[in-house]
Amino acid sequence: MIFATVGTQLPFPRLIDALEALAPELGEAVIAQTGLAAGSWPHLDVRPRLAPKDFAAIFEAARVVVSHAGVGSILSARRYRKPLIVMPRRLALGEHRNDHQMATARHVEGLHGVHVAWEAEELRELLRRPGLEAAAEKTDLSPSHSALIQRVQAFIREAG
């Protein structure tokens, strides 16, 4: 099963439309968390919003997850050890308030298990690629992550 998620804040019809077009040839169920978007997607199992418990269950059951380039999706993919395909929202297409998802996509491209579809056309190849690498939580925290935690911890200790 393929799980597509665009978050709760803004719709992302370019991504959902692309999956609708691909769904018939994929031979795999596609569950799409679409946000409050109006559209006709007869080949998708559409869920505008999902409770956290259902979101977690579907994420865990998925073979691969497709999402906007949101940090939440990237961290979820690590948590549930799933291959993640991200497609960044673009300011020029009115898909977000600024272009920060383009920056996020540039920075996460190459991270273990995170695959970037810069254009909808790239989705087909990624979705059909056998053995798409999964994201994973590292067993040890990265030095940068540890340093951030230590800084926050020190601040709290100083407060008494």
């Binding site: 920056a103 992550h145 935690i149 926050v152 407060a159 008494g160």
Partner: protein
Amino acid sequence: MKTPPRRKPVLAVASAGGHWQQLQRLRGALDAEEVFFLTTLPGLPEEFGALPAAIVPDCNQSRPVSVIRSAVVIFGHVLRLRPKVVVTTGALPGLIALAAGRVVGARGIWIDSVANAERMSASGRMARHVAHLRLSQWEHVARETQADYAGSVL
């Protein structure tokens, strides 16, 4: 009979989504503390074992009424809990919690989302007025905004 003095808690605040997930990845910093969580989506604290917690209404700048509604609830929690520290990864409800924390003498820390790789968020820029420590998760963004950099959750 007097109840024994209670340890002052740390109030940890994040909107649902990426903000919340980043806060959860900082749990290691909160291990030794009594923590109370605030977020915007029912069911989220249970899913992440982040309890005790309360849900507050989400808000954004483009809807001033939502900001007022959210602020009333957040101030209520802060006045009741009297935290020693407020820590937030955003977004606007976290900024409001920092402001409320100032009223009760709490120390405040703003951790800007790692999604803001080119410019600090609007809330993060405003947080300079209420936070005692502001961290960006990008060195160059920290430099530009007179914030600090310590590391990143990614």
